[in-house]
C-alpha cells in the first residue's frame, strides 16, 4: 500500500492540478508543493521502513490478475538497491517543484507534467514486473517531451525530439529483449528472473544482454549514445534539468544493476572489460568536453556524462578475478547514482538561480557573484566540491568505492579513470573561480541573494550531500543488502 501510494500520489496530484484547481498560479504551486512534500515523506517512510537486516524485496504490493493471460502483474516492491533511489526521487521531486516557483506560463500543465514525471520515475524504481517496469519507463517520455519543448529555451523543440527519439530507440531494443526473456522463461516477474538461469534463451543471451544494455546506456548516458544529453539539459527548464540529471539518468544505472548484472551474470562478467573501456571513454571524453564549455548549464550537463561513467565503471567491476569478487564496486556504482543525483540536482538548481537573476549562463560574463549572493555561492561551492569528490561529501564516498572495487579487475583502466577525477577538480574549480569569485562586474551590483523559497531546495540537497559524505554507511549499508544478493550469482 505504501509503495502504491508513493508511486501514484504524484499522478493523482497531477490530475487534480489539471482538472480541479483552476488557473490560479499561486494555488497550483502551493498544491504541487504540498504533493511534493507528502510524497517525499512517503519516500522517506519507504526508505526507513525498509528493513536492512532482512534484505530481499519488501513492502510488496501485488495484484496478480492484471493481465493473467500473459502473467503480467501489478507488482511493486523495494530492495536495498531501489529503496535509496525512491528516496532520491522524492527528494529531487520536491527540489524540482521548489525550483519551479518562477514558472510563469501555463503553470497548470507544467506542474501536472512535473508530477507525472515523478510518478513515472518512482514506478521505474519500484516495479518488479517487467512490463510494468517498461510502462513506467516509457511513461516518463511524455512529460519530458512536453516539459522541454514548451517550457525550455533555445532549440527546445529540437532537443525534446532528440531526447525522445534516442530514448525511444533504446526502449525499442529493451522491448525486444524483455519479450525474448519472457518467451524463454514464461515470466515477467523480475524478482523471479533474478534467480533464473538465463543463458539459454530464444535469442543468444549476449544479444539480449546487449539489447538491455543499449536501452540503459542511452539513459545513463554512455558514450557514444550520449549526444542527446547536453542538448536536452541545456534547453530544459531548471527543474527539468534537475529531474533529468538527478533521477532520470539514474534509471540507466539502476537498469544495469537490476537487469544486466543481476539477470545475466555470466554475460556481464564476459563483457566486463568492454564495459570498463566504454566507462573510461565516457569519463575522459565527458571531462574533456566539459572543459570547453562556457555555458554553465552545458558545463554541468557534460560533466554528468563523465560522472555517470563512474557508475558504469563500478558496474564493470563484476569482471574481477574471482578472489577479488566483492560488492564494493557495485555498491560504489549505486552510491554514485545517489550522490550524483543530489550533487547535480543542486548544481542545476544553483545554475537556475543564477540564470533567473543574472539572465545569463555565460561563464565569462559572470564573476564575483559571491559578494552579492553569499548563500548561493556557498551552495554552489558545496555542490562543486562534492562534484569533484572532496572527502566529507557524498561524491568522495561513492567514487572511492568505485575505484576500490574496480581496481582489482581492471587496474590500468581504473588508473585512467582516476584522471577523470583530476580533470573534474580542474573544471569545477576553474568554473567556480570564474563565476563566483574574482572582481565583480558592475552590472551584477543589483543582484540579491536567494529568497526563502529558493533556499528550500539547496538546503535539502546540501543536507543530503553532507549526511552521506560524513556517514556513507547510511546508504551503503542499504545498497549492500541489495547488491549482496546479486553477488553469489557470479561463479568464482
Amino acid at each position: 500500500m505504501l509503495l502504491t501510494a508513493t508511486v501514484f500520489l504524484p499522478l493523482a496530484g497531477a490530475a487534480v492540478v489539471l482538472l480541479l484547481l483552476g488557473d490560479n498560479a499561486r494555488r497550483v504551486r502551493l498544491f504541487a508543493a504540498a504533493v511534493g512534500i507528502v510524497d517525499f515523506v512517503l519516500a522517506l517512510a519507504v526508505f526507513l521502513q525498509y528493513d536492512r537486516d532482512d534484505g530481499g524485496f519488501q513492502l510488496t504490493a501485488k495484484l496478480a490478475s492484471w493481465i493473467p493471460q500473459l502473467d503480467i502483474q501489478y507488482h511493486l516492491a523495494v530492495d536495498g538497491l531501489s529503496a535509496p533511489l525512491v528516496l532520491l526521487t522524492g527528494l529531487l521531486g520536491l527540489a524540482a517543484i521548489y525550483s519551479s516557483w518562477s514558472i510563469d506560463k501555463r503553470h497548470r500543465e507544467y506542474f501536472a507534467w512535473l508530477l507525472t514525471l515523478q510518478a513515472a520515475v518512482m514506478g521505474v524504481f519500484t516495479a518488479q514486473d517487467f512490463v510494468l517496469f517498461f510502462i513506467f519507463w516509457e511513461l516518463e517520455l511524455i512529460p519530458m517531451f512536453f516539459l522541454i519543448s514548451i517550457w525550455g529555451s533555445g532549440r527546445k523543440e529540437h532537443s525534446a525530439m532528440k531526447f525522445l527519439l534516442f530514448t525511444f530507440t533504446g526502449s525499442a531494443f529493451m522491448l525486444v529483449g524483455l519479450l525474448a526473456v519472457y518467451f524463454s522463461t514464461g515470466t515477467f516477474d523480475m524478482t523471479r528472473l533474478v534467480g533464473m538461469d538465463l543463458n539459454d534463451l530464444l535469442l543468444p543471451s549476449q544479444l539480449v544482454f546487449a539489447f538491455f544494455f543499449i536501452a540503459f546506456a542511452v539513459k545513463l548516458p554512455v558514450w557514444p549514445v550520449h549526444t542527446w544529453l547536453p542538448d536536452a539539459h541545456t534547453d530544459a527548464p531548471t527543474a527539468v534539468s534537475v529531474m533529468l540529471a538527478g533521477v532520470l539518468l539514474k534509471m540507466g544505472g539502476y537498469g544495469f544493476i537490476r537487469v544486466n548484472v543481476s539477470m545475466f551474470p555470466d554475460v556481464a562478467s564476459a563483457a566486463a572489460t568492454a564495459l570498463a573501456v566504454l566507462a573510461v571513454i565516457s569519463i575522459l571524453y565527458g571531462a574533456m568536453v566539459t572543459f570547453r564549455q562556457s555555458d554553465l548549464k552545458r558545463l554541468v550537463a557534460n560533466s554528468s556524462i563523465s560522472h555517470m561513467g563512474f557508475v558504469l565503471l563500478g558496474v564493470s567491476s563484476v569482471g574481477a578475478a574471482a578472489e577479488h569478487l566483492s560488492p564494493v564496486g557495485l555498491t560504489g556504482a549505486a552510491m554514485q547514482l545517489f550522490s550524483h543525483g543530489v550533487v547535480t540536482g543542486l548544481l542545476f538548481v544553483m545554475v537556475g538561480v543564477v540564470y533567473d537573476k543574472a539572465h545569463t549562463r555565460h561563464i565569462p560574463d559572470l564573476g564575483g557573484l559571491a559578494g552579492k549572493m553569499p548563500f548561493a555561492a556557498v551552495a554552489f561551492l558545496v555542490a562543486g566540491l562534492a562534484s569533484l569528490g572532496l572527502p566529507a561529501t557524498s561524491g568522495f564516498a561513492a567514487e572511492i568505492m568505485v575505484f576500490l572495487g574496480t581496481f582489482p579487475a581492471h587496474g590500468v583502466l581504473t588508473g585512467l579513470a582516476t584522471v577523470g577525477v583530476l580533470m573534474a577538480a580542474g573544471y569545477v574549480l576553474w568554473t567556480l573561480q570564474r563565476s563566483l569569485f574574482g572582481p565583480r562586474r558592475e552590472r551584477w551590483d543589483h543582484l540579491t541573494d536567494v529568497s526563502a523559497v529558493e533556499a528550500v531546495a539547496p538546503v535539502l540537497l546540501m543536507a543530503a550531500i553532507m549526511a552521506v559524505g560524513l556517514y556513507p554507511a547510511l546508504l551503503s549499508d542499504v545498497f549492500a543488502t541489495g547488491i549482496n544478493e546479486v553477488l553469489p550469482r557470479f561463479t568464482p
Partner: protein, 506 residues
C-alpha cells in the same frame, strides 16, 4: 435456406434492414437525426444479436437447435457462425455505429443525401460482416464486392475533384484487385475442385490425387499468390497500397475512418480464415511471405508518412505501416514453429480491436479539429492544444497509442503482437518493427508538438467558432479516446474475447 438461418444471419439482416429503413426515411423527407437514429438502431440490434449468438455458442442461451456445439454454419454451409466471425461482426458493428455517430454533423454538408450516406455505410458493414463469416469462395467474393462498392460511392460522396478522384481510383484499382482475386479463386477451384474452404484443405492435403491433376501444384500456388494480392489490396499492405493515400485524402473523413478500421478488420478476418483453414496443408513457408510483406509495409508506410503535410494522408500512410505490424502477427501465426502449435492469432485480433478504437479516435478528433479551420493540413493544427484542448488531448492520446507508448492500447497491442513474433523465432522482424516504431514516433509526435507548441494560425476565424454543434461527434471522440486508455490499462476483456474468438479456428 431454412428458418434458423434467419436467426443465424440476424446481425447482417438487422444492418440491412436498418439501411433500407434509412432509405425509406430519406424518401419520406425525414430529418437527418431520424435517419441517423434508424441506422444506429439497426446496428445496435445487430450487436445485440451478435452477443446473443455468442452466448448461444457458450451454451448460455438456447434459442435455436441449428447451433449445436462450438460452431455452426448457415445458408448451406456458406457462412460460418463461430466466435471468430462474431468477434469481427461485433468489431465492425461498433465501428460502423461510431462512424455514423461521428458523421452526423458531417452529413450536413450533403444534407439532402444523408439517407443515402447512412444506407451506404450500413450496406458496406453488411458486406464486411459477411466477409468475416464466409467459408466459401463465391460467398467471399460477393461479400467483398458488397463491402467495396458502397465504399467507392462513399469515397466520392462529398463531390468535387478530389472526391471524384478518390472514388474513381478506388473503383478502378478495386476492380483490378477483384479481378486478380477472382482469377486466383478460379485457379484454386480448378485445382481443388471445390469452393468450400475446408473441402479445399482436404483436397490440398490429399497427396494421392496429385498425379491426376492437370497442371500440378504450381497452379494452386499461383492461385494463392493471386489471392494474396487481392486481399492485400483490402488490407492495404505493400505493394498493394497504391490507392490508399488518395482515397483516404479525398473521401469524407468519417468514411476514411471507416475504411481504415472496419474494412481493414474484415480484410484481415478473411486472410486469416482462408489461409489458416484452406491452405494450411500446403507446404509453403507462409511465415516468410507474410514477414516479407510485413517488413515492406512497416518500412514503406512509416517512411512515406514522414513527408506528409496533410494529416489525412499522414494517417493513410500510417495505416499501411499498421497493416505491416498486423502482418508481423500473421507471420507469427503462420510460422507454427515447434510442435505445430499456433502462436498468437489472438494477438492479431487484439491488435485489430485496439487499432480500431485508436484510429477511430484519431480520425474523429481530426474531424472535430479540422471543422474549426476547414483545413486538413498538419500546419493548421497549430495551437489547437489551447483552442480545442479536449479534442487536442484526444488526438494526442490516439497518436501516442499509434506510436505504441504506454499506457495506451496501442502499446499493449504491439507488446502482444511482437511477443508472438519473438516466440515464433521472428526476432529480426520484431527488431525491424521496433525500429519502425521509433520512426513513427517522429511524425506522430510532430502533430502533437504543433498542436501544443505552435501559435494559432493567422487566418483562423475567431475562437470557438464551430460550424456545427456536434454533440454526437464529441461523444464518439470521448468514447474512443477513453477506450484507448482504458484498454491500455486493462486490456484483459478484449484480450479474453480475442482468445475465445480464435479457439477452435486454429
Amino acid at each position: 435456406m431454412s428458418g434458423s438461418d434467419l436467426y443465424l444471419l440476424s446481425p447482417e439482416l438487422c444492418v440491412a434492414a436498418g439501411a433500407l429503413l434509412a432509405l425509406v426515411a430519406g424518401m419520406a423527407n425525414a430529418n437527418r437525426a431520424v435517419v441517423t437514429a434508424v441506422g444506429l438502431l439497426g446496428l445496435v440490434a445487430a450487436l445485440v444479436f451478435t452477443g446473443l449468438l455468442w452466448a448461444e455458442l457458450d451454451g448460455r442461451v438456447d434459442l435455436c437447435s441449428a447451433l449445436e456445439g462450438d460452431r455452426g454454419t448457415a445458408v448451406y454451409g456458406a457462412l460460418a457462425i463461430d466466435r471468430f466471425a462474431l468477434f469481427f461482426k461485433g468489431l465492425i458493428g461498433v465501428s460502423a455505429a461510431l462512424v455514423l455517430l461521428a458523421s452526423h454533423a458531417y452529413t450536413q454538408r450533403f444534407a439532402e443525401r444523408s439517407a443515402e450516406f447512412t444506407a451506404l455505410v450500413l450496406f458496406a458493414a453488411v458486406g464486411m460482416m459477411l466477409l468475416a463469416g464466409g467459408r466459401e469462395l463465391i460467398t467471399l467474393y460477393v461479400a467483398l464486392e458488397l463491402s467495396t462498392l458502397p465504399l467507392v460511392a462513399l469515397a466520392a460522396f462529398s463531390g468535387g475533384q478530389r472526391a471524384s478522384e478518390a472514388g474513381l481510383k478506388y473503383l478502378v484499382l478495386g476492380a483490378v484487385a477483384s479481378a486478380i482475386l477472382l482469377y486466383g479463386m478460379a485457379l484454386t477451384f480448378g485445382y481443388t475442385g471445390t469452393t468450400v474452404l475446408e473441402g479445399m484443405a482436404l483436397s490440398v492435403g490429399d497427396a494421392a490425387l496429385d498425379g491426376s491433376r492437370p497442371f500440378g501444384v504450381q497452379v494452386l500456388v499461383l492461385g494463392v499468390v493471386l489471392m494474396v494480392a487481392g486481399f492485400g489490396f483490402k488490407v492495404a499492405a505493400v505493394p498493394f497500397h497504391g490507392w490508399i493515400p488518395d482515397v483516404y485524402e479525398g473521401a469524407p473523413t468519417p468514411i476514411t475512418a471507416f475504411l481504415s478500421v472496419a474494412s481493414k478488420a474484415a480484410g484481415f478476418a478473411v486472410v486469416m480464415r482462408v489461409f489458416f483453414t484452406a491452405f494450411e496443408p500446403l507446404e509453403v513457408d507462409w511465415a516468410l511471405l507474410f514477414a516479407g510483406i510485413a517488413a515492406a509495409s512497416m518500412t514503406f508506410g512509416n517512411l512515406a508518412a514522414i513527408a506528409q503535410a496533410n494529416i489525412k494522408r499522414m494517417l493513410a500512410y500510417s495505416t499501411i505501416a499498421h497493416a505491416g505490424y498486423l502482418l508481423v502477427g500473421l507471420a507469427a501465426v503462420a510460422s507454427r514453429t515447434v510442435d505445430g502449435i499456433t502462436i498468437g492469432p489472438e494477438t492479431v485480433l487484439f491488435y485489430l480491436g485496439g487499432y480500431a478504437v485508436t484510429n477511430l479516435a484519431a480520425f474523429f478528433a481530426v474531424i472535430a479539429i479540422a471543422d474549426r479551420t476547414n483545413n486538413e493540413s498538419i500546419a493548421s493544427f497549430s495551437g489547437m492544444g489551447r483552442r480545442a484542448p479536449w479534442m487536442a488531448a484526444a488526438l494526442t492520446v490516439a497518436l501516442l497509442s499509434l506510436t505504441g507508448i504506454p499506457p495506451t492500447v496501442g502499446f499493449m497491442a504491439k507488446l502482444f503482437v511482437f511477443g508472438a513474433a519473438v516466440k515464433a523465432d521472428l526476432a529480426w522482424l520484431v527488431a525491424l518493427g521496433a525500429v519502425n516504431s521509433v520512426v513513427s514516433a517522429y511524425y506522430y509526435l510532430r502533430v502533437v508538438r504543433i498542436m501544443y507548441l505552435g501559435d494559432p494560425a493567422a487566418d483562423e476565424t475567431s475562437d470557438g467558432e464551430r460550424p456545427v454543434r456536434a454533440i454526437p461527434l464529441d461523444l464518439s471522440v470521448a468514447v474512443t479516446a477513453v477506450a484507448v486508455v482504458a484498454l491500455g490499462l486493462y486490456p484483459q476483456p478484449l484480450f479474453r474475447a480475442a482468445q475465445r474468438a480464435v479457439e477452435g479456428l486454429f
